[in-house]
Amino acid sequence: MSADQGKVMALDEAIRTYVKDGCHISIGGFTVSRNPMAGVYEIIRQRIRDIHCYAHSNGTGVDELVGGGCISKLEIAYGGNAKQAPTCIRFKAAIQRGEIQFEDYTNYQMALRFHAGAMGVPFIATRSSFGTDIVNKWGFSKDVRKKDPKIPDNKLVVLDSPFGNWCNTSKVILVPAITPDVTIIHVQKADKFGTCRMMGLTYADVDQAKAARNVIVTCEELVESKELRAEPEYNQIPFIHVSAVVPVPFGAYPTACYRYYDYDPQYLNQHSVFAKNDKLYREYLDKFIFGVKDHQGLLELVGKVQLEKIKADPRTGYATGLDRK
């Protein structure tokens, strides 16, 4: 890779290079915001299979990966997605039909697991989920765990605190670290070396990136390093964590990208109709994903008029007054 080009790659090349059959991945964003949808659709397009996916509430993206048949194992806290899909539809179907293996955590636990991975420690403590089935029911059995070196031996461990009752806490639940092979995030701005500037909420993106062996960043705008370095305190991810940078305008579409565009209620509504029916959903994949060359192709199908509607108002950062029924 030349210094001139930094880590800039085409998206299909980045996905092909880092996302392999059977690999462990996580994606950024939360429900209908800043999901790396261009990356997700490219994974589906390349028909990558048998992915082990870690998610907190990575709604739209994870549901499409499940629907696209890419995921075989899923560790997740929340498979819901705003009004259009209170339970993600393909996720729901896949579990009810026994098509994927899954294991449930809480959102905080998943965030802590990425945090532990980013920190390089095997676990972190929390006081969440004592006495619940989150602790009692394991999606992956002891046996499966023992055999697979990429799954920790225990789901969660209850530990008596070795500091007595320090902080009025006599026991804690330890959650094991996650270190994905690849994390894919979509950000507002990045430079060619991978330094990232996110705007609005960051969810767990920073730890998801730092915990991963390789990070693919898609960005709305590829900007000069100089611009980002004028205020380094607002760059959440320095370039040392990043493997590939791909400029993809509307790369989070149909989810929102704060200060750039809103989520598209029309697309999401239509999508939930498709998703509820296997045949319609196959047709949807054929048309919107497989039927186009890349994300630009999908955007062209959607059309400029629709994209214009969701453009962010500079004052609020979202499409003020957008019809969201």
Binding site: A77, G80, T87, K92, Q109, R127, G131, K171, L201, G317
Partner: protein, 253 residues
């Protein structure tokens, strides 16, 4: 004055929020209740979201806790780690009131939002915990919105997603949880609370037009109805706030 059941539920919840509370919110009716409370009982309450937004200026109703609408003019936009630490930490956590929903609730207020039937091969799969179990684990008070149907008030939840009072008095603490638990269950028929001693659900209020007996018919387990009184319907002012200031475009109500 006419009002819908959803309006009634929203107001019942809003009245539970005290001034100065930090309100952990989801979306939908729970958010509308929190927004309404700021105009009614709790002008200095602070709405915050598990995604990390604190005290957002909600010019429009967000449809998800990650909606860009929660980011606008917040005091701070952080991430999940910061948001949940705010609840797990006793300093701020003790000031938080949560608002949750679920598919099932038992008499001790334990919630299921994960699956109906067998966990591994469920008849119906739901979204799962999200931050609900975290909130129920950490905060001293939380409200639960439910639809009053027999199957939603079972003797035992199919999957225990979020802890209520577990198996009764002292069991939260014994399990390792912080003191706390649900303080009210608000349904389309009435409001339940939990007995201070037994930690069992009892009927506190039934809405005008229904009866305690009708409510019992919509639950698999029995609850004490001896303390039940008729709920005060939404006032004109409360309805005005809901309809004109909080949800003028009827996105939720």
């Amino acid at each position: 004055m006419n009002y819908t059941l959803r309006e009634m539920m929203t107001i019942m919840a809003a009245r539970e929020i005290c001034d100065g509370d930090i309100v952990f919110c989801g979306t939908g009716i729970s958010l509308v209740a929190a927004m309404a409370a700021k105009y009614i009982t709790a002008p200095n309450s602070i709405i915050f979201f598990e995604t990390g937004a604190i005290d957002s200026e909600l010019e429009e109703i967000p449809m998800s806790v990650a909606d860009p609408r929660v980011m606008y003019s917040a005091a701070s936009n952080g991430g999940l780690l910061e948001a949940f630490a705010t609840m797990q930490n006793r300093i701020t956590g003790d000031r938080v009131i949560g608002i949750l929903g679920a598919a099932q609730i038992d008499k001790y207020g334990n919630l299921n939002s994960t699956a109906i039937g067998d966990y591994f091969k469920p008849v119906t799969r739901f979204s799962g915990s999200g931050g609900a179990c975290d909130v129920a684990s950490f905060v001293p008070r939380y409200l639960v919105f439910m639809q009053h149907e027999k199957r939603k008030f079972p003797k035992k939840v199919d999957y225990l997603t979020s802890p209520g009072y577990l198996d009764g008095p002292g069991t939260r603490e014994k399990a390792g949880l912080m003191p706390g638990g649900p303080t009210a269950v608000i349904t389309n028929l009435g409001m339940m609370r939990f007995d201070e001693k037994t930690k069992e659900m009892y009927l506190a209020h039934y809405y005008p037009g229904t009866t305690p007996q009708k409510i019992l018919e919509n639950m698999e387990f029995d609850v004490d109805i001896s303390r039940a009184t008729e709920a005060t319907p939404p006032t004109e002012n409360e309805l005005k706030i809901l309809r004109e200031r909080v949800d003028p475009h009827k996105l939720i109500l």
